[in-house]
Structure formats: C-alpha cells, structure tokens
Symmetry: C2
Subunit: 212 residues, 2 copies
Amino acid sequence: MNMPAFEQGRMKPVLVTPAALGVVDSMPISNFVDGQSVYSCGETAGQVYRVEFGAVRVYRVLANGRRQILDFHLSGNWFGLQNEDIRRSSAEAIGATAIRSISLRGARYVWQGLVPVVLENYSSAQEHQLVIGRQSAVERVAAFLLEMSNRAGCACKFDLFMPRIDIADYLGLTIETVSRALTKLKNGNIIRLRGTRGVEIVNYKALQKLCL
Amino acid sequence: MNMPAFEQGRMKPVLVTPAALGVVDSMPISNFVDGQSVYSCGETAGQVYRVEFGAVRVYRVLANGRRQILDFHLSGNWFGLQNEDIRRSSAEAIGATAIRSISLRGARYVWQGLVPVVLENYSSAQEHQLVIGRQSAVERVAAFLLEMSNRAGCACKFDLFMPRIDIADYLGLTIETVSRALTKLKNGNIIRLRGTRGVEIVNYKALQKLCL
DNA sequence: CGTCTTCTTGAACCCTATCAAAGCACGTGG
DNA sequence: CCACGTGCTTTGATAGGGTTCAAGAAGACG
C-alpha cells in the first residue's frame, strides 16, 4: 500500500498556486464592513475569493433558523470554491475585511492551481466533522482554541476575532455552553481570558490532552 | 456579485474527468473483503482510489476510541484524495468490494481531472457538518435515509449496506439512538423496515420535512 | 436447529439546551 | 468626566434529549 519516497513528492504538484500563475495578484480587491455579505445562499456562483485581511465566516442556515458555520477564513485563505452553479452557503465579513475575487473565466488554469486549496479546505472540513460529531462541549472549545492559536502562528496569546455566537454556531453548541466551557478552562488554569476576546493559553499540553 | 449566464458555464471545465483522460480505466483493480483495510491512519499516501463496486467507509478514531465516519463511498465514488503525505483517516471495505487505485505518478494531469471530484467530496463534507452540528437524532437519521435513497437512484425502497454502528458513527450518535429514531419513523408511518437492512420510504415528504 | 452477532427496547443518569437575569464593555450624550 | 443605554457575555435554575448500562428479541450462519 505504501510507495517509494520519490513518488510521495508527486502528491504536491499543486504548489503551483494561482498566484504563481501570475493571474491572481492583478485581480480586484473589495472592502467589506463587519457583517457585510460576500455572497448569499441561492445566488449564482461565478467567483472564488481570497481573504487579504480581516476574516470571513461561511455558514448555512436551516429552515428553522439554526445556523452552522462551516468555516472561518483568515488572511490568505481561499473560499467560495464549489462545483455547483448555485451557492448553498453564505459568506460574511467579520470586522473590516478586504477580499480579492477571482472570476472563473480562465477556468481550467485557475482551477488547476486551486487543487491544493480545495484539498486543504476539504481536509479542515473533515477535521471539523470529528470535532462536532464526537467531542464534548469542553473538548470542542479546547479544539477551537488550539485551532485559533495555530492560525495565529501558534501564539499562546491571541484575540478571538469573532463573537461567542459565531464560536457556538461553529462548534454546534449554544453561546451559554461555550461560555461555560471557557469558564471551566479558565478555572482549571488552562487558559486566561482578557476582556471579551482576548485569550491566553497557560497550559498548552492540558489543552491538547482535552482534544484527545 | 453575480455574473452573466455564459460565464456560469465556465464553473465546470471539470467534466474532463481522469476517465476522459484515458489513464484511469487501465489502472489495476483490487478486491477487498468485508472490513478489510484500504489504507490506515499514519500510512504514507501515494494513491487515490475509486470504488468499482461495493462500498467503503472513511473514518477517524480519537484516542479514547470514539470513531467518526467521515464519508461512505459507493460505486463510482473517489476517495483518499488529500494534499498531505500522511493519512489522517482510515478506509475500510464494507462487504465485498472492488477498488481501482491510481498512483499519483503523473500527478499534475490526474489532479487536474480530479478537481470536480474533490469539490464534490468537499461539498458533501460540508453538508454533513450541518447535519451533525445542528440537527436532532431523528432529523439526522431522516437526512441519512434520504441521502441513501438518493445514492440508490432516488429509490424509495433500498437496502442499507452498513450495520447500525456505522450509521451511528456517521451521524455522531449511538446505535441505540439510531435504532430508536428508526423505530420512531416506523411508528410514524414514514418508513417501513424490512429485516435488518431493508428500508422503504412510505412518506417521502414527511421525511424531507424532518430535515428542514 | 443452535449459536453468535446484531438490533431493539427499557430505565436511569448526565450533559447540554433553554429560559431568565445579572454583569460587563463600550459608546453616546449630558 | 460621569451617567446612561445597548448589546454581548456570564451565571443560575430547570428541563429535555441522548448516552449509558442492561436485558431481551431478531437475524445470520453454520
């Protein structure tokens, strides 16, 4: 089932990103305010996007109003990639955000470079399935904090850029449960909370251990 | 944010599948018995796979033994697509299964054709996030039955090809809860159960309504 | 036809959601 | 600079849904 090492390398021909193709950096950047829609469920999908700065939440809403945030996208992340013509999710800016949009006009060439991007998004979606499918509230919040820490460059001190409700809808919990989990982690001297958004990881290993 | 219709069509240059590239059909097919491993977590990833007949479950296991099935793959479905060198999930045959494996030797060309496949898998992963993140037990089972019905060609009468434990681990529930949900749907005259695996959807609309 | 596995059913418990209210943070205007 | 108001967060009490543990029933298979 295994392969020689020289073949493993071929897994990533994909380091040829669209940027490397030289077509992306010339694409237009738009600015969004907090909560502003980038695209909405039901719209036709004609572009893919890259966050230049700020953040984006991609989510879906059930008929009864329950919302599930599928992913957060930070500076450098691509989103809006899909095969179907119609958007089945919505995307909104979190805070002041700049987004580069790429039309799929020269589709074949653009998609080719986006393969690693799609694979990465796919991978993180699967990771998240595990978290919301098989972990308890505290474990989910712990996993979330580690994820945010990693995305902040593995800093042990960072700011959450989204409100509690977004964390809850990302983790499949309620804001109250998220708050209680954070309090529990704080009381266990695993994290420290600074104001509403600030987080400091005091006991990194304990946090990792919680994610099993 | 919308685009003219003629550009929409460009979203799918991707109908050029590997099969169309003429390299896939010549790839070797292996046979697997029920429960046999296709690849395991921790192995190096050198191939992608396509189910020829039978079925495959892709799953991850937490340190404490809790398992989450990420996806089921049926005849014609591709799996094992990832960017990283190391497998973070495991794949097993469900029942007697034939699988075609494609080395990523001619990687660039293969990946190019696989873009729609990856996008499809990504899309179904997101769909599933919604189910396990924001739906109740009965709603999850209802969604699962509809999914299986669709994959069986929208038949209202079909066989589940996996045991209850797989359904449970796919939906983030226990087997008992899955069983109770099925009983509830049966008692509500929404479905009929034939033996252990057989399912007949009696009230299709009611089932859809449950998924909201 | 018997045995083993899988599935279903039951009862008790636990975790998380829900409902309600108080505490903060921040911005506005006096 | 402080009072006030608004929105978000935390904390509390209760209830509901799902898990867990424990049998029992139904299939599958030799």
